[in-house]
Amino acid sequence: MKTIQFISILLVLSLLGFSSCRKMELKQDDASASKSMSDLKINQAFKWETTRIVNVNLTGMKSGVVYINPIEGNYCFNKGFLSSSTGYNTVITIPSYVKEVKLVFNKQTYLVPVVDNNLVYSFK
């Protein structure tokens, strides 16, 4: 009886161990990594983000649709209706590497830098 109990306990422990091993086996660090993740020295303030948030404040003498486009690429970060009385204020999130954007307003194009996470421009 004791033998049966012992074998049963051993079997259960073996199964548990097998399951854990299987998981642990798959979750070990890759030995070929250039640097172990554990060895990284990461600033506490780092947000691990690939984007940045930009406050947009655009004004103009005329109303119309304004497009905020990348310098290169056929897409649009944001578009909306700029009112001559209230301007166009929004927040956009863009890739961290984007330093300048292309504004299109009333069929005119303007290259405007993003400075300190602010995009500010006044159309004439």
Binding site: K27, S38, V91
Partner: protein, 647 residues
């Protein structure tokens, strides 16, 4: 030279003439003789008195004039009326008008005689081409206005006189909405104004020549020039190739450019005597006596020889730069359009206006800019990420460290935010593509709005994939219950959406296992109309998370993103986690490593058990530099990746 502006003028002139004639004929029909009689002139008429129809029309204008009295109207049929003697209206206050406009009703002086002479403030010459008049010894080759009268909607060209090659205004009179071109004289090649009270308005005056004074216009003792464009006229050196104003000559709202003296030098204006003024004039150099004059390029549509067009481009500084006068409300510009557009009149004879763009749904957003041109409740699609899908990549062993292959869940995402013309959010389509999960556990996935500015009662959510009887509890509006901030559960168990192919753990992380087609879930979020802006919703700052092993208490978020109201915060600080809600620190290890990353572009994830630092060569530099170096580390640029370690 018949080019664009001439054809345009003729069409406008025909239209205006037809409208006026129709109105006059109708009035006469009802009012009988109260407004005077109408006589007709036609080259093919029977020339039968009293010339009251086209069939019985007089064959010459003078014949009809001779039987008219004040208030009568003479309508002139198409044709070229070649003169041997001038048409003299004497002191009659009558109107001589072409039926079909200046392009087809031509009075030709045959280089033998002045064409018209009028001498009554109620006399009107309307809608003719007046050409080849000759009066070398006197006033006006085309028309001489003595004490009053109006010449309007005419093309006055190739006439000659001593004073006023095209038109000579003596002691009164008005020339309005005319093109004056190719005329010559000794004084005032195009137009001569002798005295105060003479007026010229809305005229294009070009290519005229004087041998002494004022190639385009000469004012002697006075004359008011309003809204004229005076270009390419010629006069001798120092005598005003464009215009010469003497004494009470006043110029308003006009463009005087590109006029050259006989030496070929620019000479737009000249002045003499005293009392002359120039106000709101575009010319060079700046004239004396006046204000609001500019020397800028007027930016005509075209100055190319042979295809000149003296309308203004949208960029012209002459737009909205004139001075308004009361008479402008009752006249048109040279094209027959409204004289004042946009509150302030333009300089020159042509008022610039941009045709209102089509806006089929009337929401104020032109169809060309409107993503929903037939739907007034919607106007714009805004995407996040803008360029395509982004990727969320999770480790699921939290609070224990993972293996950092970041493939326990790999999910592409993109939000399409639909806004209306007031920039208010109408709805959001949230698309999630489950590409892979290298996890043995049955995990769910959801996201939370970044703040509680958006009231949950203002939202309705649909399209999520949650099993009946799930451990997830949703409210009637589709949001998860018990949450302070709006929280959307996209699915409750990845294994229910994508099955393991029978090899390895999870789906699509082991290159030796069969590929499983990714599953897509589109969650639709409707907003109460006209309530929130894009920044207020903040969907680009959403807070995604996985729910580990169907345990609703256990969530894994991006670093420094807080848990939802349903997470068990007692797990914080256990194992490798060093979260500290008191300082806003969440889901980081002691050396600040995350359990999840959010990448702006679609991310090609490492295969199972390959740490991300091995698959991406610049990940370490990016992370250790605080994101400064290689912010594009995830892109497929040369030298950035080890392709063999990427799924």
């Amino acid at each position: 030279m018949i080019n664009y502006w001439l054809e345009h003028f003729q069409k406008a002139s025909i239209m205006k003439t037809k409208i006026v004639i129709t109105a006059v004929v109708l009035l006469q029909f009802f009012a009988g003789q109260l407004l005077g009689t109408t006589k007709y002139v036609s080259l093919t008429g029977s020339n039968t008195f009293p010339y009251t129809s086209l069939a019985t029309a007089a064959n010459t204008i003078q014949t009809a004039v001779s039987v008219c009295s004040d208030g009568d109207l003479i309508l002139v049929d198409n044709g070229t009326y070649i003169l041997s003697t001038l048409i003299d209206l004497g002191t009659k206050g009558i109107t001589v008008r072409s039926i079909n406009g200046s392009a087809v009703a031509i009075v030709d002086g045959n280089n033998a005689t002045k064409c018209f002479e009028i001498d009554n403030v109620n006399a009107v010459i309307d809608g003719f081409t007046i050409q080849n008049g000759k009066n070398l010894g006197g006033f006006g080759g085309g028309v001489n206005i003595q004490n009053g009268g109006t010449v309007q909607n005419c093309i006055i060209k190739n006439n000659q006189a001593r004073d006023g090659g095209g038109v000579a205004l003596d002691y009164g009179g008005l020339v309005i909405n005319c093109i004056v071109t190719g005329n010559t004289s000794q004084y005032g090649g195009g137009i001569r104004c002798l005295s105060p009270g003479t007026k010229v308005k809305n005229c294009l005056i070009l290519n005229n020549t004087s041998t002494y004074l004022g190639g385009g216009v000469n004012t002697w003792d006075g004359g008011d020039i309003y809204n004229c464009t005076i270009v390419h006229n010629t006069a001798p050196d120092g005598n005003g190739a464009g215009i010469r104003t003497r004494n009470a000559g006043h110029v308003y709202n006009s463009i005087i450019v590109a006029n050259n003296n006989t030496s070929g030098n620019l000479e737009n204006w000249d002045v003499d005597g005293s009392g002359y003024t120039y106000n709101n004039v575009c010319t060079s150099p700046l004239p004396p006596n006046g204000s609001n004059n500019i020397t800028s390029n007027p930016n005509f549509v075209s100055t190319t020889p042979g295809s000149e067009d003296y309308h203004l481009q949208a960029s012209s500084p002459c737009i909205d730069a004139g001075l308004n006068f009361g008479w402008m409300s009752s006249v048109t510009d040279l094209d027959g359009n409204t004289r004042i557009v946009n509150v302030i009149v333009d300089m020159g004879p042509y008022e610039h206006f941009t045709p209102a763009p089509l806006d089929a749904d009337g929401d104020g957003v032109p169809d060309g800019d409107d993503d929903y041109p037939l739907d007034p409740t919607r106007a714009f699609n805004n995407y996040y990420p803008a360029s395509g899908y982004g990727t969320l990549a999770f480790e699921d062993l939290w609070p224990g460290k993972g293996d950092y292959d970041f493939n326990d869940l790999v999910c592409d995402y993109r939000f399409k935010t639909v806004t209306n013309a007031s920039n208010k959010v109408v709805e959001i389509f949230s698309t999630f593509i489950i590409k892979a999960f290298g996890a043995g556990m049955h995990n769910g996935f959801g996201f939370q709005f970044p703040n509680d500015l958006v009231l949950q009662s203002h939202l309705t959510v649909a399209g999520y994939n949650i099993a009946s009887g799930s451990y997830i509890t949703l409210g009637a509006n589709g949001l998860e219950t018990g949450q302070v901030k709006p929280t959307v559960i996209v699915y409750d168990d990845a294994y229910r959406l994508m099955q393991n192919p029978g090899y390895g753990i999870g789906v699509n992380t082991d290159p030796n296992a069969p590929y499983v087609t990714p599953d897509t879930v589109v969650v639709h979020i409707a907003f109460t109309p006209n309530t929130y802006t894009i920044p207020q919703v903040g969907i680009d700052q959403f807070n995604p998370f996985i729910i580990v092993s169907k345990n609703r208490d256990k969530e894994v978020h991006l670093p420094n993103y807080p848990p939802t109201s349903l997470a068990d915060q007692s797990i914080f600080g256990q194992a490798d986690d060093t979260s500290d809600p008191g300082i806003g620190r969440y889901y980081k290890t002691s050396n600040n490593l995350p359990w999840a990353i959010n990448i702006y572009e679609s991310f090609d994830y490492p295969i199972e058990r390959v740490v991300i630092t091995s698959a991406y060569n610049h990940f370490v530099e990016w992370a250790e530099s605080g994101g400064t170096l290689f912010p594009d580390w995830y892109q497929d640029n040369s030298g950035y990746r080890n392709a063999s370690k990427i799924y």
